[in-house]
């Protein structure tokens, strides 16, 4: 059996661990507050963009006289090649955050494989990249450069050569760290280009949706083709369990993070009215042309929104996990202290008995 000294060392070590997890929890809480703030600030832009698009849709026909759809992103095709964006975290120690996402993604992959569809994975965040790179081969593009007209002109094209049913199309390690809109715009443009040349027939995004600490879920959202503007088309979702919700609420309360969704700001209320006034606007360009320029931005804001929510969810998950770790460390310290005190008392009692019986023997 361990002696008092060993136990004292053990307690000291657990206390140190508790201090670290407590600090990590406070750091995560601060990061969470910042992430929530960023998500809030991003809302007016997204609302306005959606509104402008909607009011343009009301003013033009989505399908013109020749039967052509107004924008390639509205075209629906049979789903043969499906692109899946998976947003996980850059770091671990966040409870079930990363594994919940890969579980939801795996379920989606299995379902689609069973239907005979091909999948392209596009992981965002280091954890997801590491996971999918090991599992699936990278997509291969054949670069062609054909010269014609006596070498005066070139036709350059990268042609996709599919070798496996599930491949990793691209990976994005730096998006979460910076979270800037420009990078996400690039990603959106590359996805749109692939969609337009029919390399992919639909796009889904798997991420952790975050409304507040106690209201979040892992969702599979359909990004393309766009069926209805301004609506999130959720095809599958995994809600939090009651237990998780309680743990998250406890962590949030002790860290001073609000449990509820922040209230709508005045700017947001006005953002909802953007481009929808009951007046006849003058357009400086035909609505259909404006529509073409707005659509890629709309897709980018959708991805941006998912990235921001996922970042908030990651910090919330880490806050909850480190809070649980802090609590467990506390319980362990209590248990060890009790054992140590009992041992010490036993030693004292033993010594007294020895003295007393020694005195009695004289």
């Amino acid at each position: 059996m361990a002696n008092v000294l060993d136990l004292r060392r053990r307690i000291r070590s657990v206390k140190n661990t508790r201090q670290i997890t407590r600090a990590m929890k406070m750091v995560s809480a601060a990061k969470l507050r910042r992430a929530q703030d960023r998500a809030m600030k991003a809302r007016p832009y997204a609302l306005m963009l959606t509104n402008v698009l909607e009011s343009l849709v009301r003013r033009t026909d989505l399908i013109d006289e020749s039967g052509e759809t107004l924008h390639p992103l509205l075209v629906e095709r049979e789903e043969k090649n499906v692109l899946v964006l998976v947003i996980a975290g850059d770091k671990g120690f966040a409870g079930g955050f990363n594994s919940n996402i890969s579980k939801a993604a795996q379920k989606f992959i299995d379902e689609r494989r069973a239907k005979g569809q091909n999948l392209d994975m596009e992981p965002i965040g280091k954890k997801a990249i590491g996971f999918y790179k090991k599992k699936y081969p990278a997509a291969f593009y054949e670069h062609t450069d054909k010269a014609y007209d006596n070498d005066l002109a070139h036709h350059i094209e990268d042609i996709r050569q599919r070798k496996a049913p599930v491949e990793v199309a691209a990976e994005h390690a730096d998006i979460l760290l910076k979270g800037d809109f420009e990078r996400i715009s690039e990603l959106a443009n590359s996805i749109i280009a692939r969609y337009e040349r029919a390399e992919i027939d639909s796009v889904y995004i798997v991420f952790n949706e975050f409304k507040s600490v106690i209201s979040q879920r892992v969702v599979v959202e359909k990004l393309l083709p766009i069926r209805k503007l301004g609506e999130h088309e959720i095809t599958a979702s995994e809600e939090m369990s009651e237990e998780q919700r309680e743990a998250a609420a406890r962590a949030a309360q002790t860290a001073g993070v609000s449990l509820y969704e922040p209230e709508e700001t005045e700017v947001e209320r006005e953002a909802k009215k953007f481009g929808t006034a009951e007046v006849d606007y003058l357009f400086d360009a035909p609505p259909s042309k404006l529509f073409r320029h707005l659509m890629p931005r709309y897709v980018a804001t959708q991805i941006f929104h998912a990235v921001l929510e996922s970042t908030a969810a990651e910090h919330a998950a880490r806050m909850t996990a480190t809070d649980a770790a802090t609590k467990n460390a506390g319980e362990l310290i209590d248990k060890l202290s009790l054992t140590m005190n009992r041992l010490r008392q036993a030693a004292i009692t033993k010594e007294i008995i020895e003295i007393v019986s020694g005195a009695a023997a004289l």
Binding site: P44, Y45, I156, Y281, D284, A285, T301
Partner: protein, 142 residues
């Protein structure tokens, strides 16, 4: 110069994907629309326009004299309100000229490599235009 009593000020908002940069009043706003600059004053006819690369300039009101470089945007002009959606908005002194030069070079490379693809020329052209506007905005040449 128009008379700028309080009742004749425009409510101006400049919103980017990650923040609200300006929420103030101004007597006039210059906007870099695709087809050239336009200026919005109080009482203007309702207008929806796309913004190209260029400078948004605010005059008068609580905004004072302010200039922002925008790369792409969208504006709604109502008689008493101007709301600008901008994908990127920077103060001219925030612009990294070296980075803009690199973007310009990248754009020219894209142009050289575009082959016979009209769309690639368009996107190269867009990159070059944004970079050029950025550089001239940083140097205060407008």
């Amino acid at each position: 110069m128009a008379d700028t009593t309080n009742s004749e000020l425009l409510q101006v908002r400049l919103v980017t994907p990650d923040s609200i940069l300006v929420d103030a009043t101004a007597s006039a706003v210059e906007l870099p629309a695709r087809e050239g600059y336009l200026e919005a004053l109080y009482g203007a006819a309702p207008l929806l326009a796309e913004l190209g690369a260029g400078e948004v300039r605010l005059h008068g009101g609580t905004a004072g004299e302010q200039t922002f470089f925008v790369a792409w945007g969208f504006v709604e002009v109502l008689p008493e309100r101007v709301t600008i959606l901008a994908e990127t908005a920077l103060h001219p002194n925030e612009i990294d000229v070296n980075a803009a030069q690199a973007e310009l070079k990248h754009g020219q490379e894209m142009w050289d490599k575009a082959g016979d693809d009209a769309e690639k020329y368009d996107s190269a052209d867009a990159v070059i235009r944004v970079a050029e506007e950025k550089i001239s905005s940083a140097q205060g040449k407008h």
